[in-house]
């Protein structure tokens, strides 16, 4: 691994390719989980590799390289949040495990956290659950959601705002969302 990183830094395209092929996925998953869109996750993944390769010296083992990627990803996200005037965010270690799969037990904890989020959703009013399910979990457009819920598009926008606001309150109350907007 140290050879690969050194070779990539020295201009070996094959070594660079192999590094990317081996490590892109956990980094991408880590970032996607936070930004929830492919375009931004791809951009950030590339930026993480670029910063890592520019700044990293010799690597002793693969774990160190992967850990370094996560560190850079974490800092990069914090920078992005600040640039967008968003509150800085720190990633719970559990999410690192979710993306990297370093420990199966922690991966199960992530699954449990999803269960908690599911429970938070289930605690909302039925119409709030419905609009969040249709818009965010199934990906329907406002127009389609309006048709499915027999409401006007304006009513759907109002309802989804109230629903996401209520969801935010529940998440905050249950400690699943920090006051700084961590997700």
């Amino acid at each position: 691994m140290d050879d690969l990183v050194a070779q990539a830094r020295a201009g070996n395209v094959k070594a660079l390719e192999e590094l990317c092929l081996t490590y892109w996925k956990p980094v991408y998953m880590f970032l996607y989980y936070r930004v929830q869109n492919r375009e931004e996750a791809e951009e950030l993944t590339q930026e993480v590799f670029l910063r890592t390769l520019k700044s990293m010296g010799g690597i002793l083992n693969p774990q160190a390289f992967q850990g370094y990627l996560y560190t850079v990803a974490r800092h990069l996200l914090a920078d992005r949040w600040r640039l967008a005037t968003r509150a800085p965010q720190e990633l719970p270690e559990m999410e690192v495990a979710a993306a990297g799969g370093e420990d199966p037990e922690e991966a199960v904890m992530v699954a449990e956290r999803r269960g908690e989020i599911r429970e938070a959703l289930d605690s909302l009013l039925p119409q709030h659950q419905e609009v969040i399910r249709l818009r965010l979990m199934e990906g329907y457009s406002v127009k389609q959601t309006a048709a499915l819920m027999s409401r006007s598009e304006g009513a759907v926008r109002s309802l989804q705002y109230r629903a996401v606001s209520a969801f935010r309150e529940v998440l905050l109350a249950r400690g699943l969302l920090s006051g700084r907007g961590d997700a």
Partner: protein
């Protein structure tokens, strides 16, 4: 203020749904706005992640090479050896041809140089398609004949497969050491390769090979490229040309070579009784002829309820990643499932598998044969409508299109709903989403949909969980999300009265894709359904 925020949140959700980066103007805002957006992202995180295009990592490597100022990044790295080989071959060819010409010359002062004559003989031998046996290949994925592939040295493994052999080796470096350590420690279950024995590294050479392939390169030759060499049987006829290219990158032939082999994932469950624990066994089998490295993230076994699509249970596979799986080997991981809370159809799937083939200096992504396992948890007696059939002919028409509920039939494990969509010029499967709700209950998605196309209509068979015994009404919603422009994209809503449960004997479950002489049958994914 509020309508703007409502609009902005809606736009933000649209961006997420379209997997696009939201505009910064939409994202900017104070802390509570950030919390709202974070809540929206958390809700969306319940959906499976959307992965990039398969060539994303390679494209990223190319972009990184440019950004890092690595020269020659516009040429794929795998062509590097070819470039040098091409150059060398050109020089050699020119030299040989020169000697050949010189050999033709009627030398006025005696015989041509001896070396020239030898070169000519070699050239003629090569043109007869009889290359010398026992040729040595390194890091090459080449078509293999039906015979056995032999491995030489301590590292290479090869198996008779479906016409390919992956002769990859890792030169020096950490991966090779990692493989040695892990293969020694891994809980592998050895399985014979398909169609023949695995040729082990220490197998006595030559015994199973065709006579012309027995020649073995000398130890010096084996080490000539600085890594483990492999002796391949010489193919017949035209294949010889491909084999005469030592140094070929595995990627140059990967499209054909790795279509069939890959990483096969098999899930089994020892029981699917209601409210009883069961034991899932996940087997990961390497059907390639080279080593596979399973890397992060940790694969997770996910049990989903088919009707709601909700994941009801998850377990991480206890693999100590990165994990190396040798050629033709498999590893089994078992985990205990506490059992379902309610009956119905479930799927078990393994997500998050990341495997790369170790092929010399190249590392390729590996085809996954990873189909979810579907299983049914039976309902207690008397709880479901287990038999009978209705032909309600409920229909709705709009803008030249008609949707008809032709049939609803009940079996112990399914409720089958058959719809017909008719519209002018309709001759392709529809991108359709259909849900069913019994007596105003929770809408559920079907576990399987089959479309039959023909004569301006599409007949849709959708299999749902069984209907409750007391169900008096079926509410169907169908949304055509794409396809012919003359089908309205607004939802089609149909109410079907079910009446009382008809008396009659239970029928065996109707099999999907067994309709009435369809011209073409399509599965859930819009692809033609298999026979």
């Amino acid at each position: 203020m509020m309508p703007d925020r409502e609009e902005d949140l809606s736009r933000y959700i649209d961006y997420l749904n379209q997997e696009r980066k939201p505009l910064q103007s939409v994202e900017d805002g104070p802390g509570d706005w950030q919390e709202l957006l974070a809540a929206a992202r958390l809700a969306k995180s319940m959906r499976p992640p959307v992965m990039p295009e398969p060539d994303f990592p390679r494209q990223m490597a190319g972009r990184l090479a440019r950004l890092l100022g690595i020269p020659g990044q516009n040429t794929r790295s795998i062509w590097g050896p070819w470039r040098w080989l091409g150059g060398a071959a050109a020089v050699i060819t020119i030299v040989l041809l020169s000697w050949h010409v010189l050999a033709q010359v009627n030398w006025p002062f005696g015989e041509p140089p001896r070396v020239a004559m030898q070169a000519q003989e070699n050239l003629q031998a090569g043109s007869q398609g009889e290359p010398p046996a026992g040729r040595e290949y390194d890091q090459a994925r080449v078509p293999a004949p039906a015979g056995e592939v032999k491995a030489q040295g301590g590292e290479a493994t090869a198996a008779q497969g479906k016409g390919t052999a992956d002769a990859g080796t890792v030169a020096g470096g950490g991966l090779a050491r990692q493989r040695e350590a892990q293969e020694a420690a891994a809980p592998e279950v050895e399985t014979p390769a398909e169609g023949g024995p695995v040729a082990g590294a220490n197998q006595a050479e030559g015994a199973a090979l065709e006579p012309e392939t027995r020649a073995t390169p000398s130890p010096r030759e084996q080490k000539s490229l600085g890594s483990v060499a492999m002796v391949l049987p010489q193919p017949q006829g035209q294949q010889a040309e491909k084999l005469e290219r030592p140094g070929t990158s595995s990627r140059s032939l990967e499209t054909k070579a790795i279509q069939a082999p890959g990483l096969r994932v098999e899930i089994s469950l020892d029981r699917a009784a209601l409210q009883q624990p069961g034991r899932f066994t996940v087997r990961l089998a390497n059907t390639t002829s080279g080593g596979l490295s399973l890397t992060f993230p940790t694969p997770i076994l996910v049990i989903k309820e088919v009707g709601s699509g909700e994941a009801v249970w998850k377990a991480a596979l206890a693999l100590n990643l990165p994990f190396l799986l040798g050629a033709g080997k498999e590893v089994a991981v078992a985990t205990t499932w506490p059992g379902p809370e309610r009956p119905g159809w479930y799927t078990a799937s393994v997500v998050g598998i990341s495997a790369t083939a170790i092929g010399g200096e190249a590392t390729d992504t590996v085809p996954l044969q990873n189909q979810p396992m579907e299983f049914f948890v039976p309902y207690p007696p008397g709880k479901i409508r287990a038999a009978g059939e209705l032909q309600p002919a409920v229909r709705a028409s709009r803008e030249g299109a008609t949707v008809t509920v032709e049939k609803v039939s009940f079996t112990p494990d399914s409720a089958l709903v058959r719809l017909a969509v008719q519209a002018a010029g309709l001759n392709t499967p529809l991108d359709l989403q259909v849900t069913a709700a019994w007596d105003g209950g929770q809408a559920e998605s079907p576990r399987q949909v089959v479309q039959e196309v023909g004569n301006g209509s599409v007949r849709i068979s959708a299999w749902f969980n069984p209907a409750p015994a007391t169900a008096g009404r079926l509410h169907l919603v169908a949304v055509v999300k794409g396809g012919p422009a003359d089908i309205d994209s607004q939802p089609w809503s149909l109410d079907v009265p079910l009446g009382v449960e008809p008396a009659g004997s239970e029928k065996p479950p109707e099999q999907p894709a067994n309709g009435s002489v369809p011209q073409e049958v399509y599965g859930n994914d819009g692809q033609p359904a298999p026979e």
